[in-house]
Symmetry: C2
Subunit: 245 residues, 2 copies
Amino acid sequence: MTLQAEKGHFYAVGIGPGAPDLITLRAARILEAADALVAPRSERSGESLALRIAAAHVHGQEVLVHAYPMIRDQASTRASWAQVADWVAMRMEAGQAVAQLTLGDPLLYSTSAYLLECLLERVPAERLHVVPGISAMQAAAAAFGAPLTVQEDRLTLMPATDLAAVARALDGCETLVLYKVGGRLPALRALLAERGLLDQARLGCAVEQAGREVLYRDLGEPVDAALGYLSVVLVRCGHRPWREA
Amino acid sequence: MTLQAEKGHFYAVGIGPGAPDLITLRAARILEAADALVAPRSERSGESLALRIAAAHVHGQEVLVHAYPMIRDQASTRASWAQVADWVAMRMEAGQAVAQLTLGDPLLYSTSAYLLECLLERVPAERLHVVPGISAMQAAAAAFGAPLTVQEDRLTLMPATDLAAVARALDGCETLVLYKVGGRLPALRALLAERGLLDQARLGCAVEQAGREVLYRDLGEPVDAALGYLSVVLVRCGHRPWREA
């Protein structure tokens, strides 16, 4: 069960949350063997964090660093990914192995979903592969050393964009993980306070990113509201033990 | 942000779903540098799958291979882990670095939760560390090449032990991931058929375990009921697009 980078194939490669050593051996080998790489850069900073994290595995491959629109518009997102897919498909047809670097896991809130969808219209499905990566949720839980789920617990992972949906989710799981908290951090804290859950909530910001990581073990403490960006919030709202046999 | 195995410290190390190359660089280095290792073995087979997966990183360390009771009893589970914790704490106090190998991720339905809890009563919390690992859910999704979540999707992860709770969960998320399907696979298929979701459900059995992996892309096909064991079921029950800005 080891995966080799094959000529004419594409790999969506998860490189984990930020620490270069949280890359899997498979991801490292696929990146090293690829002929061409696709990596995102932030429109704000202009820099590719993904390329920096995976720097040890990048050595002379052709690299397409592309900005992706940070606006939430389906049509412009699709148009932007269609261009990247053309670039990738052309190289696959020329017999190259192509890999896309993506932070975290390629199948959890990742841009790989768009690129894979566009590539499916251009190349056979059996030439498309995914290499899983450590997600921000796992890195945050590990940083706190706190179990996400044991025994019969249910975990729900969702964006914090709709606080009414967040409130409903709190009733249907034992651990709630929130991405995309952003500017809603104060409103989220108010909701958690109402439920008596503030001291069961933890926040990890830029977890495993050198020099940027901030951890709050207890959202009851005063928290810099700007930390909502790049954050994961973990709420332990209950526990479901084994039912007696 | 690289983690070194320190003397007198403990590491709960996720080694991923089964393929030796889905171990992270950090996990590999911690295991290699550890003085003593703890690994589970199945009571049924008597073998330690974890040790076999991580064989490339095990070379002469002292190894405690322990059986853990497969019965769901809180008291005997705790007693069993207290013994392992004594073994680990004694070596930590003697200045050794100790690592526990665990399949998947140490904080998702893992025995590491019990060992960490017992160790917290014996050694200072700052000597306990967790190295995240690729979970079975991520490996299964990667094998199918199908996104778990995009845009505003909610994902719920839970054991399939309580099918009434599974039915409720289907109404509150866009992707449902079920562990511990076991003998309930026929009843689960009946529930999914009722909801018209059978062809949106996939099953991965022993994903990334050499020679044992079985994948069903569509639970509408006839499925060997015995495959419920070691399986992950992924149900795509909806999609929540971005709300228009």
